[in-house]
Symmetry: C2
């Protein structure tokens, strides 16, 4: 960079946009907020907005989440930076996209109750969205699927304790694959050493089902599944 | 975002910085350029610089690469956006980091010849670098290692044709693991179905070695190695 060049022509607006995933009602859902100003007034959009010049990117993502959805203390990860030229019709805006994973039982009733300004939507039935936010959700979903296949990240979406059947259902919903073989799934979960039984059972229609929890020493990015030795 | 808010306080400088990896001299190297202006004048840094308000992020990365290193037509991928507050002592600069993979035989002699302003450095013996560029190289190296274990991306660093021994050496250099078991490595490469023999051999010290090439239908992000079914 050359100090003699005019500074202003190099400036851009930078925003963060957050795809918040949760599992509820046998569905994978994202939290959307309704825009009240142009452009795309009244369209659903991802929670987010411009970063302040005095805050780090991650802090901006946490702030926007809290201000717009009351969601806090969640697993948050940077995803991708969207920088095409005309993604905002007003002026150049670069968006740093994040995704957040949150267990539905950690969300407040206020946050879960749909309103005109905020609602959870199935990723399989999204409304028309502002800007390139549909594309951002698609990208986040691809990364989420990849992540749960290679790591223990799915546990961020589960309650503290769960049955293996519930865990399998979560995988089926996220992967949109309702034919996961039960025996094969349980073997893989066992081999990955990421869950441990708690000494409790819950009543189901049939015999009581054992409850499990995520092992604290399980790695979110397991090295155990490397393809090459 | 509120249209009534003053626009200027939301503006940031956005840069791209590119970690270009190549394999040469039995080493994994990155291309660095020497800064000639403050701050960090005379320090080595990653090729990169501010994006123009009229260019997309990827285009800015390709432009900076070509202008500063003459490298073009390479595999380029966005890596991560570094947005801590004081990473540049002058003012707020957000850097979108990319990594590029290039086979050394595609680099011009001009680009490979070290000079005061540009040189290839071993990732295992890096000089002190400007800004947080050491951290960016570390991050890129972690991602490169992950990528070659889960995909066929290593081939972007190989010549068109190679022996299995050369491929194994490439993995050992990139992973900094010189104990890879030959039989196990060859079995995994065979199982992954990502190489095919060409009908040529090259002379080695012992018996002639068969030459292979990357299969055109092999996926850079193979689905075949998923952990969950």
């Amino acid at each position: 960079m050359n100090n003699n060049e005019s500074h202003s022509k190099w400036l851009s607006s930078v925003a963060v946009d957050v795809v918040i995933f949760t599992l509820r009602n046998q569905d994978l859902q994202v939290c959307l907020v309704r825009r009240t100003t142009e452009p795309y007034s009244s369209y659903w959009s991802l929670p987010g907005g411009f970063i302040r010049s005095d805050e780090a990117l991650d802090d901006a993502a946490f702030r926007q989440l809290k201000e717009q959805t009351e969601v806090e203390n969640v697993y948050l990860q940077q995803l991708y930076t969207f920088g095409e030229l005309h993604r905002d019709p007003r002026h150049r805006v670069i968006s740093v996209a994040y995704f957040a994973l949150v267990s539905a039982d950690k969300l407040s009733q206020n946050c879960l109750t749909p309103s005109d300004s905020l609602a959870w939507h199935s990723v399989y039935e999204l409304p028309e969205m502002a800007f390139d936010h549909s594309e951002i959700v698609d990208y986040a979903l691809t990364r989420l699927r990849y992540k749960i296949e290679y790591s223990a990240a799915a546990f961020e979406l589960m309650p503290e304790e769960f049955t293996l059947r519930e865990l399998q259902e979560a995988y089926m919903i996220i992967l949109d694959d309702h034919k996961l073989d039960k025996a094969n799934f349980r073997k893989k979960i066992r081999d990955a050493k990421i869950v441990e039984p708690v000494s409790r059972y819950i009543q189901t229609g049939g015999r009581p089902a054992k409850l499990f929890r995520f092992r604290k020493d399980a790695q979110l990015e397991s090295k155990a599944r490397r393809f090459f030795p």
